[in-house]
């Protein structure tokens, strides 16, 4: 990402801090023009991504570092996010949501992220840990409501 992030948050890998991050993501998403349902899904996806870092990257240790960087995107209109950590790296090819027919607890986070976001990509960081790049675009209704001059129905996916 060439531009400096418009919002950067550094948090410890403590689940008790997740609600604060959800608030920040929701606030920025509202500014961009995401409607309530999209914001609910977006904050959920970010929450799931952070939960996965805490659980799998840091093994539920609460003193790991997580960085969340956010940018407003103009073309397409929406939100870009990068989440980075210094936890245990995972082979991106092994990051998969479970089959939803298999009704059991766990494994839902990745499915929720992929279902909710327009773009999601995991990669190991060269200096250790993982980087997750996410993007979500405004749908046609949101685009028309917030940016009528640039409204493009083909941008919508949800």
């Amino acid at each position: 990402m060439e531009r400096e992030p418009e919002i950067s948050i550094r948090i410890f890998s403590d689940p008790h801090l997740l609600a604060t991050v959800r608030g920040a993501v929701d606030g920025l998403a509202k500014c961009i023009g995401f409607h309530d349902k999209s914001r609910a899904l977006l904050t959920l996806a970010i929450d799931e991504a952070l939960t996965n870092v805490i659980r799998h990257g840091y093994g539920n240790q609460i003193n790991g570092m997580i960085w969340l960087h956010m940018w407003r995107s103009a073309d397409p209109r929406g939100l870009r996010i990068i989440i980075e950590d210094l936890g245990k790296a995972t082979d991106p090819s092994k990051i998969k949501g479970r089959e939803l027919d298999d009704v059991r607890p766990g494994g839902l986070g990745v499915h929720i992220i992929k279902e909710t976001m327009n773009e999601s990509a995991w990669e190991p960081r060269p200096s250790g840990g993982m980087r997750l790049t996410l993007a979500k675009w405004l749908n046609a209704e949101e685009l028309a409501a917030s940016y009528p001059a640039s409204s493009n129905p083909e941008q919508s996916n949800s």
Binding site: L18, T20, L44, T51, R104, P105, L108, I112
Partner: protein, 113 residues
């Protein structure tokens, strides 16, 4: 910081109603799980989870509800969710779990399941 999850509990005529009073996320799901286990240990005939003030659930919370489903099936206890808010309904839908649960609009209706 998150405040601890408070769960109201009541039992009338063999039906136990658990009513979590805030969001159920990774930090609060263990409390919900313990409450469900404790409720089932008392061998109710029905378990109703009143979700009417819960406006956010993450996958940890969903996982807890799935566990409740498994435990109640094993114990042959009826389970119903009452008063699901739109955001929680949406999450159950995108995880394709909504059909697995018996849901009712009100606790009163859920107690009749």
């Amino acid at each position: 910081m998150n405040t601890p999850l408070v769960i109201k509990s009541s039992t009338v005529d063999g039906t136990t109603v658990l009513a979590p009073q805030s969001e159920i996320d990774m930090s609060r799901a263990p409390t919900m799980r313990d409450a469900i286990k404790s409720a089932l240990a008392a061998k109710p005939t029905k378990l109703v989870i009143d979700m009417s003030v819960v406006d956010y659930v993450d996958s940890s919370g969903i996982a807890t509800l799935v566990e409740a489903l498994k435990w109640t099936r094993e114990a042959k206890v009826a389970l119903a969710l009452a008063g699901l808010r739109p955001r929680v309904k949406t999450l159950l839908e995108i995880t394709k779990l909504s059909a697995m649960f018996t849901t009712r609009t009100t606790v009163e209706d859920a107690c009749k399941v």
